[in-house]
């Protein structure tokens, strides 16, 4: 029996695979990233809206009290203040929750930062389903759609805490006058990235080679795609895994290159199926493609309130689900071809 059809063996295989990839929590690691950045760059300001503890900034505040601006629970004010700091020649890093940056204060991001050509780094923690028990007000599955749709933005979804640090460095060094959104998680997640790994804004990382199917993912689902490729290997299916950490500007070359080789593509993200990574990939392929593309993400209904692992499992955001979907697409396509 194949691995995917044998629940017991699959369960053991997946548990073992996960155990080999330890986890790190975003909140604490993010605090360390900010601290290191502040030490290196005297122009860096942290701007927050009563989420100093929640974004791990306590030590930052103790060491650099003059460079921590806490505006209280006032997210629109927070983005405007950050834009003003940027206009005054400082490098503001907004440290908040994804929902309150990309939804509550979305107009300030557009007009004060993007249209106004002001560089502001927006670190949105607790994104996706990572604060599942916070319910619909804290779960965030619309941020890629809102921030991708407005001109002059960069949208990055690091896959783990190590890549978050690399992305922050790249964002800091980026020469453009544009808001740069880093979509970050919350609790412990598997770590795939090593400190010296390459990271370039707009350039996907290929984690596995394969010509049967291409799995495109970002954020925590990159690990799930990586796991899916491992499962598929046991099925005799060679999967390429693209870590598409930058959703905008998207790596057209990497997508078109894969499109020339593979028989199917599966895109997975912890975001609405509308407007996120899956949509961005389809936009690249809009001139035509002759293979099926499946988008795994959130359907057009509000997810329940509950802990993140349960939600991901219930909503099919897992390595097993990605692998099943890939196999299904290939089976269909190949049986059609065989006919």
């Amino acid at each position: 029996m194949s691995l995917l059809d044998d629940p017991k063996r699959l369960g053991e295989h997946v548990a073992d695979f996960r155990a080999r990839h330890p986890k790190k929590p975003m909140r604490q690691e993010f605090g360390a990233i900010m601290l290191a950045l502040a030490e290196r760059r005297p122009d860096v300001f942290a701007v927050t809206a009563d989420l100093m503890y929640a974004t791990g900034l306590v030590e930052f505040g103790a060491r650099f009290p003059d460079r921590l601006v806490n505006v209280g629970i006032a997210e629109q004010n927070m983005i405007g203040v950050a834009a003003g700091l940027g206009g005054a020649g400082k490098l503001p890093v907004v440290c908040g929750y994804a929902a309150f940056i990309a939804l509550r204060a979305v107009e300030q991001v557009k007009v004060d930062c993007a249209y106004n050509e002001t560089k502001v780094i927006l670190a949105g923690l607790s994104s996706g389903l990572t604060y599942g028990v916070g319910g619909p007000t804290h779960q965030t599955y619309e941020d890629l759609a809102t921030l991708r749709a407005m001109p002059n933005t960069i949208v990055i979804v690091p896959n783990d805490t190590v890549q978050a640090a690399l992305a922050m460095d790249a964002a800091v060094e980026h020469p453009g006058n544009t808001p740069i959104y880093l979509r970050l998680g919350r609790g412990p997640e598997h770590v795939l990235t090593k400190p010296g790994d390459p990271f370039r804004i707009g350039r996907a990382n290929r984690l596995c080679d394969g010509d049967d199917v291409c799995l495109v993912a970002n954020g925590a689902l990159t690990f799930e795609a990586y796991l899916a490729a491992d499962i598929l290997r046991g099925e005799g299916i060679a999967a390429e895994v693209l870590d598409m950490h930058t959703v905008k500007p998207i790596d057209r070359e990497a997508i078109l290159d894969a499109a020339g080789r593979v028989d199917a593509m599966v895109v997975a993200e912890e975001h609405s199926r509308s407007g996120g990574l899956g949509a961005a990939v389809l936009e690249v392929l809009e001139d035509g493609h002759d293979f099926p593309v499946a988008r795994i993400g959130l359907e057009d209904e509000y997810p329940p309130i509950g802990p993140m692992p349960d939600l991901r499992h219930a909503l099919g955001l897992s390595g097993e689900a990605i692998a099943r979907r890939a196999r299904l697409l290939l089976d269909r396509k190949r049986s059609r071809r065989g006919r």
């Binding site: 009563d50 503890y53 209280g72 629970i73 006032a74 309130i305």
Partner: protein
């Protein structure tokens, strides 16, 4: 002079039971916004067992007064009152915060009978109160809109936008309570973002303002009565200074009590402390 001094034995018992319900729900999860539930219990007891008009068996009764929970994370406090009011069965408190429960961590109209709005994102309730109060007036309803919000929410501009419109539209059917427990996520509210002199600001915004000790039950009762009886065509607000953890001395003494974890054995100690206060 406090006219109602000492006449509120029954309400004190209600407040005790609201606190008890909240602590029991806290125990289910081992953590939560317990200190807030304890600080606001006297206000909720007065709202539900003295001031408001509603039918427990028919939470959607058209003639009810509305109660909006703008600070959705206080849901545990409101559930405790809704249980005491008979709107939610007492057994359900065992389900607090679990997957199939009608009692999620943030108050959601879609989940819970007696919840009039979906909260969790701060600073939005006052606008809903304005619209609701306006709608009720247009319908010639004499129902009132009660709204609870928190001192942290005073940071949000939207709250002040709504307060300005409430006064502009002379919405004398709004009775707001702001819980000044001087605490928000990052520390004492007055230190995170200074908001005093709050009473003067609210008066300048055109509201009928009373500032009271929100844990002095007699004062709370009098303030609700005065808010209802007031004649000027203004929205009414009660600024309630409260003590987090009220009624459980070891919780009152805690610092950083915005979201607290309590050790397993301490829940019984908390209940015992409430019992002690009840007898005193």
């Amino acid at each position: 002079m406090t006219p109602s001094k000492g006449h509120n034995k029954e309400l004190a018992e209600r407040a005790y039971r609201v606190r008890r319900n909240a602590v029991r729900m806290g125990e289910v999860q081992g953590q939560g916004y317990i200190a807030q539930a304890l600080d606001i219990a006297d206000v909720l007891a007065t709202a539900y067992f003295h001031a408001m008009r509603y039918r427990p068996e028919d939470p959607n009764w058209e003639g009810r007064d509305r109660f909006l929970l703008s600070n959705g994370h206080y849901a545990i406090a409101l559930y405790a009152a809704l249980i005491e009011a008979g709107i939610i069965p007492e057994e359900e408190l065992e389900t607090y915060g679990s997957d199939e429960s009608r009692l999620p961590m943030s108050g959601m109209a879609s989940y819970t009978p007696g919840m009039e709005m979906s909260g969790g994102s701060l600073g939005v309730g006052m606008s809903i109160a304005v619209g609701m109060a306006m709608g009720l007036k247009r319908k010639k309803s004499d129902s009132r809109v009660y709204i609870l919000f928190s001192d942290g929410e005073l940071d949000e501009g939207s709250v002040w936008e709504a307060m300005m419109s409430a006064a502009h539209h002379k919405l004398d059917n709004i009775i707001a309570v702001v819980d000044v427990n001087n605490q928000q996520a990052d520390g004492p509210s007055t230190q995170v973002m200074a908001f005093e002199p709050l009473g003067q600001k609210l008066e300048a915004f055109g509201w009928f303002v009373q500032r009271i000790d929100g844990n002095d039950l007699d004062a709370v009762v009098d303030a609700f009565d005065a808010a209802k009886d007031h004649k000027a065509p203004k929205p009414r607000i009660i600024v309630a200074d409260t003590l987090m953890g009220k009624g459980v001395p070891f919780l009152e003494a805690r610092e950083k009590n915005h979201f607290i974890r309590v050790d397993a054995h301490e829940w019984q100690l908390a209940l015992a402390a409430l019992d002690e206060g009840r007898l005193a």
